[in-house]
Symmetry: none
Subunit: 218 residues, 2 copies
DNA sequence: ATAAACCTGACAGCAACCTGAACAGTCACT
DNA sequence: AGTGACTGTTCAGGTTGCTGTCAGGTTTAT
């Protein structure tokens, strides 16, 4: 997933970033609301980890703006304020979940996985797609019973397609899921990964929509 | 296991720390609630040993906060207050066990082992994994009937993998289980232990997930 | 027919990983 | 104190497998 982290404590921010990145997500980390909202205008995130007390304002303001712009990105609030009123305000403002500091990084992972599952309607974390069985949580994929080993980049592409199965996923969207801001790629990387995926999980599952992108059929 | 010890009596704290460490666990020892809860934000513990009367507050406050943050880490309370009311309050607040001071270090070990068993769903302390039979309580492992002797560090790695069998265990997670905060290791220790484990219990049981960590298959 | 878009095999570079070996420290036993 | 077995850590050299790029072929739209 592509994750936006807004946290001004450098120690905690670094720890979170490293932890999430090691689980295969692309993380953009900002320490202020203004930097974060600037990045929001140009990038499509799957999840925002939002601290509330920030040097240039209160995180709930950003959340309110996000929701009033009809952006349904998942948001987990990270805050030291464990008063009930703040939790309620956060959830009312449209947060999906909250974590009270201090929290355990493993707990954060669990919440992220829960969010991730919610993105795939059924909620189990298991998917069946034709002859494919996919365990998203443990990154295991069986093609007609035979295990297929996907690299982390291949998983990222597959995940992105699964999230919008039966819908068209633009090539640029896939590219954004692969690379965080900065590292730009000039060649036909996405095509190459689609090709590699097809070789591993079967040709028929991914359809090409010429000029636009790809679609994964149920 | 990675264990957080909160105890302000230096003599007792040092003794506990040394005793547990000699059994292969990584121990972080703090003498105040605030230091302990700071460490909780960045580290994944398997167990907390919690004294109640501390210089900056009462241990139950920390425990309450931990549980209200939905953190399910195991907690053993260490306290000189042997009144029934305190035990009940501790267990109500979400402690897993308690020990009344003065206690025997062997008794502590026994409680830790009990906690450890509880972490492997089945509760028997015995595991079978392909041609491996593993007795967690007595640290005996049979590879196709032939006993394999594992060092304590090797056990720590194996244990960590078994706790999450069929899931991916990040290399950093294994490292955290081996080393307490501060004593950082720069070289490829985890890889070396994985290599030694494979040599002792068979190559096939531990799978490498490149760029992330390892996975133990059932 | 033509150009644009796409597919895919090949490849070099590189980071991650594996593993044998060396070495100091510890422990039990003499 | 000496000895030998064992452990934890580090290092170096070899291996593996991922990644991005490209070239040349194939498909599709107009």
């Amino acid at each position: 997933m592509r994750i936006l982290l807004v946290e001004d404590e450098k120690g905690l921010g670094g720890a979170i970033r490293e932890h999430i990145a090691s689980e295969g997500h692309a993380v953009d980390w900002f320490e202020t609301l203004s930097d974060a909202s600037a990045s929001l205008t140009t990038t499509n995130y799957d999840l925002i980890l939002l601290d509330l007390l920030l040097p240039d304002g209160h995180g709930l303001d950003l959340l309110t703006r996000i929701r009033s712009a009809k952006n349904s990105v998942a948001v987990i609030i990270l805050t030291a304020l464990d008063q009930i009123s703040d939790r309620i305000r956060g959830l009312n403002a449209g947060a999906d979940d909250y974590l009270v500091k201090p929290f355990d990084l493993g707990e954060l992972s669990a919440r992220i996985i829960a969010i991730q599952r919610r993105l795939y309607a059924d909620g189990t974390g298991m998917l069946t797609l034709g002859s494919l069985s996919i365990d998203l949580t443990n990154k295991i994929i069986l093609n007609d019973g035979a295990p297929a080993n996907l690299s982390s980049r291949e998983w990222a592409v597959l995940e992105r397609l699964l999230r919008h199965k039966n819908s068209i996923v633009a090539k640029s969207v896939i590219e954004d899921a692969l690379y965080e801001y900065g590292a730009e790629v000039e060649s036909n990387t996405v095509e190459v990964y689609i090709s590699r995926l097809r070789k591993k999980i079967g040709k028929t599952s991914i359809e090409t929509i010429r000029g636009i992108g790809y679609r994964m059929k149920v």
